[in-house]
Structures are given as C-alpha cells and as structure tokens.
C-alpha cells in the first residue's frame, strides 16, 4: 500500500477530486471523451514513437525464438486488423454520440497497435510484413475476423460489441499481458502500451452490453447463440497463440478465467 493514513474522519474527508464522487453522467462524459483518451495515452505513449523508448537496446534473439516471435506478431496483426476494421465500421452503428466518440478513439488505438506490430516485424528482419502476416496467420483468428466483420456488415451493434469488445479484447488482454512478462524488452514495452489501451476497450464492451441487457434481457438468448458460434474460434486462436509462444498446456494462463468471469457477469454463459 502506498497511501498514508491520516486518521479517523467522516465522509467530509472525501477528496473533492475523488473520481468516485462523480455522478454517473459526469463519469461517462469524462471517460468517454476525446480529452480523457488523449491525456491517458499521452501518459504512457509519450516519447515512444513505435511503442517503446527509442534508446532501449534490442536483444539478440536466437533463430528459434525470433521465428516464434515473428509468427506471434503476425497473428497479433490479424487480430488488430480485425479490431481496426471492426471498430471503424462500428462508429456508424453506435446508438449514440458518446459511444460513437469512444469508438473513434478505439479506431485510433487499433491502428496504432497494427502499426507498432508491423514495425516490430520489420525490426526483426521481415521485409514484407503484410505478406508474412498472410502466410503465418492461424485459420482460427482469420475465421474470427470474417465472423466479426459479418456482424458489423449486418449492422448488428450488440453482437459486434460482444464479438469485438468482449471476446477479442479479452483474448488479447490475456495473451498480451502474459506475453509482456516473458518477451524481449522492446516487445514487452510495446505490449504494455497495448494492454493499457485494451483495458478501455474491454471495459466499454462489458459496460455497454451490461447496460443494454438490463433493459433488454431477452437479447441474452441471441448473444448466447453468437457466443456458441465464436467460442471455438477464440479458443483455437488462443491455442495457436500459446503454441507460438512455446507454452506447454500446463503453463498456459487461463483465458477461460477472465473470459468466463466477464460473460458470467453479463449473464450470457451458455
């Protein structure tokens, strides 16, 4: 704990700048604003043009580890491209300006993620990253991307939020957090910055859907069906990612835990 106890006091001791003192409308106005997004990303990205501090020395990776990292980053690129294309389509689907503005910030985040991963591939000696991404992409994450974009193209906001901001973002949040702990220092810094963005995306997804389901509880049935279609693809993508990272089954952190907790809170467990 890093706070200093002052002593007993009543509620008048509540700091006037305490975020927990905001009312709900003010809270959402604050956290879904462009200025909030800009100040937040400035905090952890300033001075990191490609997602890491430029003076960071690049470790020399043995050929096997380098190959694995390239495959991993190629698959991250598929996920980020899916998120970028999905989020940009969802700007138009958003049911209100607050959500529309938030999705616009997410589009910028996803574009940056794709850019920093492609740049890292170049640093690892990949001369044509786009070609390499196509060659190394796992079928599950490619199929997930197609499914997500079909939901977006169909104009299905709730399903798209579930697929992108709950399913895909939870997958990325779990894998990236784990990978950041074991990766070379530059990749680790890049992943840390991406994870910070993912917090906003998955939180938006859960809270938007949760709020919607309070008023429309029968929509759960449809989301459970969509979950049934997408679950195997998400798990396949996760297996592929952990395999690329060289993790044996017993070492793999449980996506299931974070993911199941999220869908359980939303009441859309099948």
């Amino acid at each position: 704990m890093t706070s200093t106890q002052l002593g007993a006091a009543g509620s008048e001791g509540l700091d006037s700048e305490e975020p927990h003192g905001l009312d709900e409308t003010a809270f959402y106005r604050e956290v879904r604003s462009f200025s909030f997004w800009f100040e937040a990303v400035e905090g952890y990205l300033e001075g990191r043009p490609h997602g890491y501090v430029p003076s960071t020395p690049d470790e020399e990776l043995d050929p096997r580890r380098r190959e694995r990292l390239i495959t991993t980053l190629c698959n991250y690129c598929v996920g980020e491209a899916a998120a970028l294309e999905g989020a940009s389509g969802m700007v138009r689907l958003a049911p209100n300006h607050n959500s529309r503005i938030f999705m616009a910030t997410q589009v910028a985040d996803e574009a940056r993620h794709l850019e920093v991963f492609l740049h890292r591939l170049g640093e690892l000696g990949v001369t044509d990253p786009e070609l390499e991404v196509r060659r190394r992409a796992h079928p599950s994450i490619v199929a997930f991307k197609h499914q997500l974009l079909e939901l977006v193209d169909a104009g299905d906001w709730d399903a798209a939020v579930f697929a992108l901001n709950v399913l895909l973002e939870t997958l990325e949040f779990t894998v990236f957090r784990h990978h950041a702990r074991t990766a070379d220092v530059i990749t680790s810094q890049i992943l840390d910055g991406v994870v910070s963005d993912e917090r906003r995306h998955l939180g938006f997804g859960e809270n938007t859907l949760g709020h919607h389901l309070v008023g429309h509880p029968t929509d759960r049935t449809r989301l459970i069906e969509i979950k049934g279609h997408l679950d195997s693809l998400v798990m396949g993508a996760l297996d592929g990612a952990y395999g690329d990272l060289g993790l044996h089954r017993g070492e793999r952190p449980k996506l299931g835990r974070d993911y199941l907790q999220a869908v359980e809170r939303l009441g859309i467990l099948s």
């Binding site: 706070s3 509540l14 956290v31 879904r32 909030f36 709020h211």
Partner: protein, 104 residues
Amino acid sequence: MTGTSQVHQTLETDREVADDDRRTFVLDETGFKEVPKRWRRFYRHWQGEGDSLGPNEVICPVCKVVIRSTREFRPGDRVYCMPCMSRMVVVRRDDGTLEAEVTY
C-alpha cells in the same frame, strides 16, 4: 469533468450511509499513467504475489487495476474504475473481505 455541485451532492449521499469513524488517506502517486494526471493517484497496478490491499483499496474485477480512495471503503460505497470505465459497488464477501461488484 463534473461541477462542484455534483461532488457535494455525492458527499451528502455518502454521509447518510457512512460511519463517522472512517479512516482517511493521503494518496501518493503510484506510477500509474493510464488516466489523465488528476486521476492517477486513485489507481495503481496490482504487483502480484506479495502485494496486499489497503482498507481504501479494491481490485477492479474487469481490468484488474487497484482502485483507491482517500477514505476507507465500506459496503455500499460506489467506486469507478476509470481505466476500463466501469461502475461498481463495494460489497462484503462471506469471508469478510471487501470486493467491488460491477453494476450496469
């Protein structure tokens, strides 16, 4: 950003449910940078094994960040996780620990 009146309104509400003996805390910066500067001291990263929560701290179940307050938490308190934009209420579990429960 909210106006002063909104903060005062919440203080009044809290006064109704709070005991008078709550401990208060001065929050230091923790190196947390995922929210604008004025909000940063209200959040920190969980440090894993060896870390522990203070009486003014709960973990966000959505994004796993530690949420902090200038005063001790009590069941029924409202908390916000700005990094993932979640609203929560503090609840007491069967084992006596305090947790944040997401509200939609």
